[in-house]
Each structure stands twice: as structure tokens, then as C-alpha cells.
Amino acid sequence: MSDRMLTMAEAVREAMSIAFDERPEVFLLGEDVGIYGGAFGVSGDMYHRYGAERVLDTPIAELGIVGAAVGAALSGMRPIVEIQFSDFTAQAMDQIANQAAKIHFMLGGALHVPMVLRTPQGSGTGAAAQHSQNLEPWFASVPGLKVVVPSNPADAKGLLLAAIDDPNPVIFLEHKLLYKIPGRDPVLEGSTRIPLGVSKVVREGKDLTIVATGIMVNKSWEVCEKLAAEGISITLIDPRTISPLDMNPVFESVEKTGRLMVVQEGPAQAGFINEVIAQLAGSSSFGSLIAPIKRLAGMNIPIPYAPQLEKAAVPQFDDIEAAAREIVKNWR
């Protein structure tokens, strides 16, 4: 295994370090990000490399620290604020949704908020209901926030660098289960940005289009591999930025395959992925559909604790495989 097969935690740390080196106004604040190295080990040794001046340990005060990040961003700094679990962004919602998201618009462009809020989301670690949510729709539904969901370390690095460059507030949702494992691709050296708002066609096929977010991209990829061996070829699209959402590759692909499946971890009801369906259904590509649109998403329940229950609550490999097979076989 090459030494560029970094885990997502390593890739995020590398991106933050590059940003720190490029710009003195970039700094990190959050609970346990300093001496402890971050609850999930993401900031790691940054405290020792950059000092307490730039890696700030904060008390447990999400509203206060996100607000401070907003104020610092208004005053010429580029803060990266880490909220320990995405579930706790609830505590900070006024500063995220009522302040950061709206300042540029409300103030007629006089001020802007170049802030990145990074936070781990998702289920699978047995952390139960209040520490396992996927809250993509909370943020995607607020105009004024950009929302990024990297599915692999290589993308995470390039996307985070672009997010830090961005003069607007960016919510960067990392999946807990991806922190400690490498992705399929090596992480590039250097500081190349991956632009926000550009979807990625991960693989091309002609029988089915799958649009998936976050960890579901990886599960879907496994399914594509398995079904390719049986002659079912699938296009897999990873939006990477869910807001603003780049639908162009989706329209193009559906016009070729005629079949669309969307996969997300979060609960189905009012979930983010419904946006993909809504846009497709209202577009001229709708007339290319030869099958109903299939949605795979989490159950409309809080995430349960026991492992078998936790697994059952969100789509798994088997669910994705069965759905893909069914739609290709039954709709000709």
C-alpha cells in the first residue's frame, strides 16, 4: 500500500495544515481539537506544530464558539470550527442558520463570512440516536450555506482546501466511519483544489444511474463492481457538494440509461436526496425514464443502539444490490 493511501482523518489534517501554511489568518477552534488531537484524531499533532495561537481548545459552548467564528470571519480571519458531533450543531443553529448563512444577503453584500464548519456525521459506531445523525437536509435547506459531503479521502482534501478558500460559510460533513480507513484512490500530493458545486461521475454505465452521497457512494461502488461482472453496467454519480447541487451529469446520464436510483444514509422523509428526484422529475430528462425513480434511504427512525438494529436502520450493500438488480431486470 503506497504511503499516499491516507485515511480521511489524515487527508483532512493535511488539507488544514496546507491552509495554515498558506494563510496566517486560517485557524482552528473547537472542543478537544488542541492538546487532545481531536475527538476523532483529525487535528492530530497540529497543536504541537502550530501552537495554541492557531489551534484553540474551547469550552463546551457550541453556540459561543460558532458565534465567535462568525465574528472572527467578519473581521478578516478564516476560522475552521470543528463541532464534535454534527448532532451538536443544534446548539449552534442560531449562529449557523440565522447569522452566518444570512449575513451576506441581509447586509446587502457589505460583509461576508469565510468560515468552514467541519463536523462528523453518520451512524455505524453504536453511538446511538443523539450521536449518529445525518443532518444534510438541515443545512442544505438554508439558503446562504454551502454544504459539502466528501465520500473519500482524496476528495476530502481537495474539497476542504476549496471550502477554506470560499468566502462563504461552508458546512463540511465528514462520515465517522470513513475517518480511519483509506479510500480507493491515493490522496494527491500538493494543494490542488476540487471546486465546490461540481458533481463527479465516479463510473460510467448504460443500464442504470445511481446518485449517492457520502458513505453510500462507497457502498454503491461495491454494488456496481459486483453487478458489472454480470453484465449490468451502472453510472455512479457523487455530487460531493450537495448545496449548490450540480445536476448536469445526472440529467445527461438519465437520458442515456433511462433509470435512476438515489441512495442516502439519512431518513427518507424530507431528506436531501429528494432534491435530486425533484429536479429530475421537473426536467426535460424526465421523458427519458423507462422506470420509476428508486429511492433508498434511512428509515424514519432515530438511530437505534444495538448493532443489528443500527444496520437495519440505513441502506446496506444488500439493499442497494437488490434494488439495482430489480430495477434493471423488471423495467425494460
Binding site: E25, F27, E53, T58, P59, A61, L63, G64, I65, V66, G67, A68, A69, V70, G71, A72, A73, L74, S75, G76, M77, P79, D94, Q95, N98, Q99, I103, H104, F105, M106, L107, G108, G109, A110, L111, H112, P143, G144, K146, D165, D166, P167, N168, L196
Partner: protein
């Protein structure tokens, strides 16, 4: 600026700005009553001395965050009157291009990071601005204006604590006008002296008569000096009173006419005029001229703003994000 009594120029500045705030708010009340302004207005008539005194201890680079009752803070910090009225009238040249309204006026040139429609919303933001000032070694101070009602918000608590532990160059300026909308401080607090809260955070706190612009200036300057010396935040509790209801839908059912009457006699403006005339810093005639100056300035601003072009819906989508430079 400097001490209001230190020279005729300083005294004139203090008086002019208090009159500008007073007349501005009266004009807003009139225009609103005529149906020319959308939404609602939160007037600060009677509270003019607090922002005026505080801002005279600040420079242009020092920053403020403000509240929903923020016209006075904006004006005291030096905002353009025409652009303020234009914003309230939904005009293109308004501070926010008609997109923000009364509660969201910001003025970057005068260090105003914005009024806020969320109670307590600006307090952590001011802490952040102070943090940036400290990290970038700018030597500026950030003042958060808020009311007694905000002191019970979690945002106040979290921001005050951060300011204290990080010794931020920040001033927490509470305009205690005894009511958070309809909740009196007697009912909303279990303590009698709001300044006692400072102890809980390790922040020095001081009470001041918010209707005495000289007294306000004096405690403000001490707090600014402390902050700039790196000694951290100060909590200022300025006792004052608003003559008008919370907003335009307020029928004042929660307070008595007698109370309102009593506070009107403590009007900060005649109080200051009496003092400067007695101490022979300004003559009564000079004070009258200053009042007129303020009236004319407001009239000119209103007349100009009314004629300005209305804001249009085209371009709204592009206004959400700042463009990413290539």
C-alpha cells in the same frame, strides 16, 4: 473622540449625536405611521445617551455589534442617515439594498458589524471580532450592545465566558431599559443588581446611569483602556428607559403611564444641555443651533431617501453568496 465635557467640540459632538438619534427615531415613527415603512420598528427614543457616550470612547476601527433596537448604535458610530432611511424604505441605496431592513443594518466603514434580529445574536459575534483583533494584534476593541433581555440568553453566557477565559478586548454593554419586550427585569432576574453577573464569569462589572452621557463615556473609556491594555472584557450595565413600546404593536400593557412619565423627566438630552450650559462649555443658543442641525440633517436624509430608486427583485439569487474569485 474624547470626554464630552473636554471641549466645545466634544460637547457639540455629544449633543449633535444625541439629537440626531432622537430626531431620526421620531422621523421613523412618523414615516411608519404614514404606512411608508414595511414591517415594524423598534425605537430607542429616550436611550440616546448610552450609545453616544460609549461610541465617543471608540475609534472608527473599533467594532460594534448591535440589536434589533439598533438605530441609535448605528448613528452614534457614524452611519450615513440617508442610507439608513433608504434601507427602511426598501431602496437600492439603503445599507442592505433593501434586503435587510431595520434590524440588519451594518456599516463596514464605521466598524459596525451589524444590528441583529436575534436577541443575543451579536454577542458571540462581537467576541469573535475581539478574538480576531487579538490574534491579528490590531489593538482594537469590540463592543457588543445588548439589552437586559439578552442577558438570559445562552449566547450571552457562552460569549461572556469565552471573553473572560481568553481575555478578549471586548466590552459587554447592556442597555438595561428594565424590559425585555414585556418581561420586566424584576420578573426575569432573581438578582437585583445585574452587574453581579460579572462575578460569575470573572469579568469586572460596573453600573452607570445610562441617561447621563458623561457618566457613560467615563465608564466606557475605562473599559476601552482595559481592553486595549490586554486586561480583558468589562460588563457595563447602563440603566436607561425606552419611551415607546417594544415595537409598533406594543400597547404598553406591561408598564404604567406613571413610570413612563417619570422617565421622561430624566430625558438625557435636556440633562446634558443643562450641564454644558451651566459649565459654560456651550451656550443655549449654540445648543439650539445643534438641535436644528440635527433636524435639518434628518429632513435632508428623508427627502433624499424618499426620492431614491426602489430595490428590485432581479439579482436576488446572486446576492446570497459572495462570488468565488477564480
Amino acid at each position: 473622540m474624547g470626554h464630552p465635557l473636554s471641549s466645545p467640540e466634544h460637547a457639540s459632538h455629544a449633543l449633535l449625536y444625541m439629537w440626531r438619534i432622537r430626531k431620526f427615531e421620531e422621523a421613523v415613527e412618523d414615516l411608519f405611521g404614514r404606512g411608508m415603512m414595511h414591517g415594524t420598528m423598534h425605537l430607542s427614543i429616550g436611550q440616546e445617551a448610552s450609545p453616544t457616550g460609549m461610541c465617543m470612547a471608540m475609534t472608527l476601527q473599533d467594532q460594534i455589534t448591535s440589536t434589533h433596537r439598533g438605530h441609535g448604535h448605528c448613528i452614534a458610530k457614524g452611519a450615513d442617515l440617508t442610507r439608513m432611511i433608504a434601507e427602511l424604505l426598501g431602496k437600492k441605496i439603503g445599507y442592505c439594498g433593501g434586503r435587510g431592513g431595520s434590524m440588519h443594518i451594518a456599516d463596514v466603514e464605521t466598524g459596525n458589524l451589524g444590528a441583529n434580529g436575534v436577541v443575543g445574536g451579536g454577542i458571540p459575534i462581537a467576541a469573535g471580532a475581539a478574538l480576531a483583533s487579538k490574534m491579528m494584534k490590531r489593538g482594537t476593541v469590540a463592543v457588543s450592545f445588548f439589552g437586559d433581555g439578552a442577558m438570559n440568553e445562552g449566547a450571552f453566557h457562552e460569549a461572556a465566558n469565552l471573553a473572560a477565559i481568553w481575555k478578549l478586548p471586548m466590552i459587554l454593554f447592556c442597555e438595561n431599559n428594565k424590559y425585555g419586550m414585556s418581561s420586566s427585569t424584576e420578573k426575569a432576574f432573581a438578582i437585583d443588581n445585574l452587574a453581579d453577573r460579572g462575578k460569575g464569569y470573572g469579568i469586572p462589572a460596573v453600573n452607570v446611569d445610562g441617561n447621563d452621557v458623561v457618566a457613560v463615556y467615563e465608564v466606557a473609556q475605562v473599559a476601552v483602556d482595559r481592553a486595549k491594555a490586554g486586561d480583558g472584557p468589562t460588563l457595563i450595565i447602563a440603566e436607561t428607559y425606552r419611551w415607546k413600546g417594544h415595537s409598533r404593536s406594543d400597547k404598553n400593557l406591561y408598564r404604567t403611564k406613571e413610570e413612563i412619565e417619570e422617565w421622561r423627566t430624566k430625558d438625557p438630552i435636556p440633562k446634558f444641555i443643562a450641564r454644558v450650559v451651566e459649565e459654560r462649555i456651550l451656550t443655549q443658543e449654540q445648543c439650539d443651533v445643534i438641535q436644528n442641525e440635527a433636524i435639518e440633517a434628518i429632513k435632508a436624509a428623508v427627502n433624499e431617501a424618499v426620492k431614491a430608486e426602489s430595490a428590485e427583485p432581479s439579482g436576488l439569487l446572486d446576492a446570497v453568496f459572495k462570488a468565488v474569485s477564480a
